[in-house]
């Protein structure tokens, strides 16, 4: 019923003993997500929420508790180090929520990822949820319900918007992934769409993009070539002025490249249904897809 996270997911929380991290880790645990360890250097030997062991290193969390997935709430100056440590410890999936990691640090992380088997989601993302089973990150669990629509998005609240529209119509999601708004991220639109395409329990896909870079254009070409599941898309930033970073570090039109128009044109040319407004994302999908 899902991609990347499910019943086998054993989470280690890096930096979840801080205010923000602990709030969301608790919510994830209430949702039913299996947190097996926490890592806060210097707090090794203590316990999180009275029962989850805290370690000084990610390696210990892997060796002693069998953690296979990490969620990172570490502050920006130290977050890349946290990701590199998780990669070194052999974590399969790292979900990095942290916003504001320097690009230079992420260039080094990206290089390390290419030499490892670790997948990174984010940074600067809301996380990933397989409804009813596993919620890692800051997404509000109640907006999603189990179903067969895969959702991938660069934006947090815009993801909630799309997920909520699907849920309100009585349908659900296989998995929802926020890939984050930074110029360098671990998992791209294409990566997520490939996984949804290969997942027998995902019937249709919603892709939400925004200005900056060419990830949506590349995804459009991939979808045209490889995907026969219905895909609906929305692109934010039609009215964004060139040369300005629109909140997300990666959301910038520079040198005439990365415009919303170019993305919408590429998506339409690939036969993807593009929603005109953020209010009609689910409606656009159900215009081309009848759930089984």
């Amino acid at each position: 019923m899902s991609i990347l996270v499910g019943k086998e997911t054993r989470v280690v929380g890096q930096g979840i003993t801080g205010n923000f991290g602990s709030l969301h880790a608790r919510k994830n645990i209430e949702y039913g997500t299996s947190y097996v360890a926490a890592v806060t250097p210097g707090k090794g030997g203590q316990q999180f929420e009275g029962s989850i062991p805290i370690f000084n290193t990610v390696h210990e969390a892997v060796e002693k508790e069998g953690a296979n997935t990490s969620v990172i709430f570490v502050p920006p100056p130290f977050a890349a180090d946290g990701i590199l440590e998780a990669i070194d410890a052999g974590i399969e999936l790292v979900v990095c929520i942290t916003e504001g990691i320097p690009v230079r640090d992420m260039a080094v992380v990206k290089d390390a990822l290419s030499k490892s088997r670790t997948r990174l989601i984010g940074p600067n993302c809301p996380g990933i949820i397989t409804p009813g089973v596993c919620n890692i990150g800051i997404m509000p669990g109640y907006i999603a319900r189990p179903g067969r629509i895969g959702v991938v998005s660069r934006s947090g609240t815009l993801t909630y918007e799309a997920v909520f529209q699907v849920t309100e119509r009585g349908y659900g999601q296989s998995t929802c992934i926020g890939i984050g708004g930074d110029p360098i991220n671990g998992t791209s639109h294409i990566d997520a769409i490939r996984l949804f395409n290969e997942d027998p329990d995902t019937e249709a896909i919603i892709m939400i993009g925004e200005i900056g870079g060419t990830a949506e254009e590349e995804a459009a070409a991939y979808i045209k070539e490889h995907v026969n599941k219905p895909v609906a898309a929305f692109i934010a930033g039609m009215t964004a002025p060139p040369g300005r970073r629109m909140g997300h570090a990666g959301a910038i039109v520079s040198g005439g490249s990365g415009t919303a128009e170019a993305k919408v044109t590429a998506l339409k040319a690939a036969g993807i249904a593009v929603s005109e407004t953020p209010s009609e994302i689910a409606e656009t999908l159900f215009g081309i897809y009848t759930p089984s």
Binding site: G100, D111, I138, E161, A236, P278
Partner: protein, 398 residues
Amino acid sequence: MNIHEFQAKELFADFGIAIPKGVAAKSADEFESALKQLPEGPVVVKAQIHAGGRGKGTFTNGFKGGVHVCKDKASALEAARSMLGNTLVTHQTGPEGKVVKTLFFNETCDIKKEYYLAITLDRGSSRPVIIASTEGGVDIETVAAEAPEKITKVFIDPAQGLQAYHKRKVAFGLGFSEKAQLKQMDTLLTGLYRLYWEKDASLVEINPLITTPEDRIIALDAKVGFDENALFRHSDILDLRDLDEEDPKEVEAGRHGLNYIALDGNIACLVNGAGLAMATMDIIKHFGGNPANFLDVGGGASEEAVTEAFRIILSDPKVEGILVNIFGGIMSCKVIASGVIAAARNVDLKVPLVVRLEGNEVEEGKALLEESKLPLTPASSLSDAARKVVAEVAPSKQ
């Protein structure tokens, strides 16, 4: 974060990059002593503002050009006096222009040929890329569109760093082959890459890079931007920030942890989340309105954040209506509604306010909005909200 050309050139000098001799001055009193530090003969006077297109710009007092090549120091002094304190309008400043507060005096260089050289992030490969072109002094985007074969791109593996072969590839790509030239290019690229990497630059650009008749390679211009997320580890760079070059509303928003960008429309929006904020601007436009700003109040949308956001929005005299669009994910819509109500009271709101709440405990949140007796219009969906705010603002424009 951007810096001025004279600051960028100081950094260039620190990193061993050859530049023309130059001195910056911020007041008329300093002009003569600044000029004394340059050799006799012609002088280039350059207005220091962050926008490009200075040479072709015009001052609001009618004086033409923000870059002047003067035959001697006396005429340089005269040109500098005409520019200081006046407003320069270029194709990048917008019609309001930028006040020139610093002049940069440079010795002139004889030019044999102009080139383009830059280092930035290539998003596709997530690696630094050196971009070099034999077409200097023109926009690199124009060259990329019209003569891409004249551009050499060299990608750097961040783990390996800049290697000698990278530097040779760039130098040969620009047509340099003599030993003395290759040596200068090696020094130049070493310094430029170190500056890019060590100072967390987002862009280092030399346009034009020139050769002189004596075959010296010199950075005639300098443009450097920095990754704002990395400024915490570069207090020296943060000191170079010139707040006069930024929109005061944007600076104020930044102080309160809000992300605000001024636009030229009349419908302000206040949204949580960057993607949803952009989408809200788009939907206002879709229904025939014009967004006045981008504003992301962050995930929580607390009363303090919303109050400050209202203050900043309302300091823009063009604003004739406000659309609040909040998706209450983790936080209850009740809390958000209370915050919006308190904030609206704090700022004594006089323009139409349309509020769209969605998410956690939305019905309770909407009820609070209605009980508030504030002149606000609740909306049931984002489309509904956009239609309503456009309709409320439209009549006042006629």
